[in-house]
Symmetry: C2
Subunit: 423 residues, 2 copies
Amino acid sequence: MSGITRRQLLVGGAGVAGMGAAGALVASMVPRDDREASANSGGQSVVPFHGVHQAGITTPAQDRLYFAAFDVISDDRSELRRVLDAWTAAALQMVAGQEAGEFGAVGGPYPAPPDDTGEALGLPAAHLTITVGVGRSLFVDADGHDRFGLADRLPEALIDLPHFPTDNLDPGRSGGDLCVQACADDPQVAFHAVRNLARIGFGVVSLRWSQLGFGRTSSTSSAQVTPRNLFGFKDGTANLMAEETDELDRHVWVQPSDDPAADWLVGGSYLVARRINMHIETWDRTSLQEQENIVGRTKGSGAPMSGGDEFTPPDFAVSGRGGLPLVAEGSHLRLAHPSMNSGVRMLRRGYNFTDGSDGLGRLDAGLFFIAYVRDARTQFVPMQANMARNDLMAEYLEHTGSALFAVLPGVPEGRSYADALLG
Amino acid sequence: MSGITRRQLLVGGAGVAGMGAAGALVASMVPRDDREASANSGGQSVVPFHGVHQAGITTPAQDRLYFAAFDVISDDRSELRRVLDAWTAAALQMVAGQEAGEFGAVGGPYPAPPDDTGEALGLPAAHLTITVGVGRSLFVDADGHDRFGLADRLPEALIDLPHFPTDNLDPGRSGGDLCVQACADDPQVAFHAVRNLARIGFGVVSLRWSQLGFGRTSSTSSAQVTPRNLFGFKDGTANLMAEETDELDRHVWVQPSDDPAADWLVGGSYLVARRINMHIETWDRTSLQEQENIVGRTKGSGAPMSGGDEFTPPDFAVSGRGGLPLVAEGSHLRLAHPSMNSGVRMLRRGYNFTDGSDGLGRLDAGLFFIAYVRDARTQFVPMQANMARNDLMAEYLEHTGSALFAVLPGVPEGRSYADALLG
């Protein structure tokens, strides 16, 4: 592949004419999601692909998400490898702000379908990351059958998540053999990435479900401002941050000692995806007092109800009128706090979503929860079991989709997504 | 309402700390969709609300859309007025980057539900526009009954759109008594606007359907770069532009002579909304040659197949090998061209969309087509009838939603959305 890309050739002429030095300055400072200003600043908004871990986990959370789960519809292991190899090549191109492949020869005969679908032509890299994981069903099918000779590599921690009390799961929004988390500052860039991986995988993988997320709900770097979920509250204040490298080793990255069967996964992680519908209309008719009591934080600043500012640690012991704790017993803050969960933390990377309305005058909207953990059995499962039972917020929530994926380790230069898993 | 807003109060302290002069410079130059940089630059990204026409039509097309159609579930005209008045007040606040209302007293008793839902706290105005229209069903119900004493104000041009050959309409994604088009550079800001209008209208209006759009497909100002639709082609090259004021009078704005019954609508327009599903997987397996033949433009530069660059007028007379016209007879470009449509033009303002997948491994995605016209009977209807029959692209398209709204004239200072219609 030549160093000059089709996108640069196409865009270089008209797209950036007349920008000059001021434009270039702005582009280099704020390349995010401003296509006119930054069409030629791909280099400024490129997240490196290679590394010990995949990008898209501790990468400062981009504003937009397109998440997809795929089923493998072939039973040929070499076909699976071929697709994962092709995905690697395409991902390398796309995260660099280039097309997934040539989209056709200009001026010559061009009888073949394009190797890129074109809708991201002229758009910047937009901090695109593509993060790939594998589901339990890739290893063994529902009958326990070893589909691709991978059963002996099935990590113990890659469980079927148990049923939780607030679950009302749609099988069409749950599970999957493979997952692709595409994050970018431009949803068209994220969509383009998933769509081209689906196109490349045609005949071998089939899209099972997908989800567009339009506003991130977590910071994953201490340099980011905490965003708000659709309950209107800051979400992710106490999230694990990229800067906490020791904590990431403890809570996120799979370690050599974790599971002899899953040595191949060292440097990887586990991704818990939950599509959580919020009963927004009910919430919006709840008093501010009740909302803050449920969350355990003030709606404005995000400070704990025990006082201080957003980043003040909550004081669960302090009581107010009537002797009741200021941070309520059933508040989300208290129940999700590490001190109430054996010190467990997760790296959250969720996004708000809306898929229109439900035909009954209500928004189909909520939180597409994503958490990265080292072991869901000791991190997500006990916390969610506790929260589904005791969280005052639970009555406003309905979990409609669920999946757990083992996220592949980082891909070294010259290697493929397939290598760690398929050898 | 005081000049210092709650949002500013809340954000002023922590959100912008340490930005300094460089940050302020960037914010003033590129306030779009960068929340850290522009949280305090509301003034830079505010689109004026008042005017002869509503904003959101000739306003340079923002990147994101949330569109909603509502049914009025009350039969009380004064309730309808109350909601439209309250919508006006809230819209004024929100387009200025402020909350829809107070979200609760800080530090005092606060037993009431907040008057703002909170998820846009700290976000800039993001060029939010809120554009309101009314459907035929608001004037007369299916039985021709005059619902609110408005039957004598029903514009002749506010028709039920006829059935077209590629229609496969979902009633749950069609029609509506009222529409709200919220456009912004941040989808969370657009969503917030619609959600708060729905909240304000509780008990009087009910959400009928809604649509999130993630990438605009049209430029409405000659200063904008032409974006791409999900077929990967530039879309809207020949769109009506804000700078063509004479053409807008001719093709978009309702004029005093148009309809004696609809004098109240002068300065308004008609909005055609069509949810057009694209058969993306089929398209992606079509050769580039065929794709360009169908569209009538090259995929790279967007130049007509007759030659030149993107903005070169197409030459429908020039032929190539075998005597066939270079711009094919059934090409989208030819069939949509004013010269093939009695000189008719439309102001298009569409967005790409995806609502996940269809359960059969295919993306539920396409174009949420929006066009502003002076009279759909002479503009949209004959063009769409022709295209549904003859457009080579038609086999890749399926129209799944449809609506026509009369878009209210601009709201003068101190007045309400209700005034033109309800008097």
